[in-house]
Point group: C2
Chain length 207, copies 2
DNA sequence: CTCCATTCTGCACCCACTGCAACTTTTCGT
DNA sequence: ACGAAAAGTTGCAGTGGGTGCAGAATGGAG
């Protein structure tokens, strides 16, 4: 996710970014004020200073705007490291490292993420859209795992691996939420990964 | 899930069940024929012989009708066994056993499940609704785990446990789908559980 | 058979979302 | 500096999903 000030981005691109951000903020602020059902697409568009038709040039649905989740993807540095078998050589640990890097990318969106999670908490009906957003990354994760497996003696399960990566993301987001958004979300990942290992890895009775 | 013929259910209840089943079948058959977008709520209601208003007395959305997933819950026998620490004493294995039992409950709905999964495969936009449907069981799973933890020396993680149960359900459904729905879905669970254990449980490099 | 509870249904309505075409703004090349 | 092309905004008409209300119809109980 490149920063506007760091590129020679044109006026048109800058205006698009600003408009999208304005729509998300308007949507989130209005929904937190009045509740999801009491806010229309027209309301959000008006608050952002564009037409309802323009709203739909940016978002396929009201849900999408309200969640306002940014597009993120694994940077080439992190992706290459993973594909070449790093950083630890252990599949599970390396998947967790990818998720940590992705969570770090979200730092500039912390405020929006907090609002988004607060809205999700109040409006369970947004769960499908939230799931859809996370699920879009599953394909990317699967591609990374298959690229790594091409040169690996011990391949990572390409069906379960992406699911585990998503589970780590969601559980870490839940832990961050339960801590009232104190600190950075990626700091909550290692304990979640440990608990997951403890849950699945234990064999025999007594658990 | 009681069978109609086995209870003294009234005519009203029987008609409700039959009407719901008719709506699901009409929805699924029409969507498989024409595609999701080409089928309206009016079409489905007409095919089932009720009004569109009645359609909405049964389903909150078109998506829900098209997926047609039955309400299932853990039977008391399975629930009690789990809560009392059985059947194996190992948390992960016992969660898997609960999921196996739930999948067995779906046997009478195999045809509808197949149609539902085929539709989800063709209409990726329904996937979030499908996952959200599964997710409704998360609370039930959490309650079971907390009940078991009340008397356990080694408690199961109450945040990660339900997520793992859902992951086992979805992965098993995927494996069943990939096998072209041959056999019973619960037969695909043990291999999934083994693969999951292998993925998370391995420590050190070489994975 | 009557009364009550439940369900069906028609209707009017709101809102989300889409496709099309005209207009406006930004970018690029000369 | 200017004109052409590309990209984006917007109004409009339209479709379909979904809701609340009230009257009609149906099933159950006594």
């Amino acid at each position: 996710m490149t920063d506007t000030a760091l590129t020679d981005e044109g006026l048109r691109e800058r205006k698009k970014r600003a408009r999208r951000a304005a729509l998300v903020e308007a949507a989130q602020v209005l929904v937190l004020e009045r509740g999801f059902d009491a806010v229309t697409v027209e309301d959000v568009a008006d608050a952002a200073g564009v037409s309802a038709r323009t709203f739909h040039n940016y978002f396929e649905s009201k849900d999408e705007a309200v969640l306002g989740l940014p597009d993120t993807s694994v940077g080439p540095e992190i992706g290459d490291r993973f594909v070449s078998g790093g950083p630890t050589g252990n599949g599970f640990d390396d998947m967790a490292a990818v998720i940590a890097a992705l969570l770090e990318c979200l730092a500039p969106y912390a405020e929006g993420m907090r609002r988004s999670m607060e809205i999700s908490r109040r409006e369970p009906r947004l769960l499908p859209q939230q799931i859809a957003f996370f699920d879009r990354q599953r394909e990317e994760f699967r591609a990374l795992i298959e690229a790594r497996n091409a040169g690996a003696a011990a391949p990572i399960d390409a069906e379960l691996g992406p699911r585990i990566m998503l589970l780590l993301t969601e559980s870490t987001a839940t832990a961050w939420s339960r801590a009232d958004y104190v600190g950075a979300p990626e700091d909550y990942l290692a304990p979640v990964a440990e608990r997951l290992r403890a849950l699945i890895g234990a064999e025999g009775p007594g658990h």
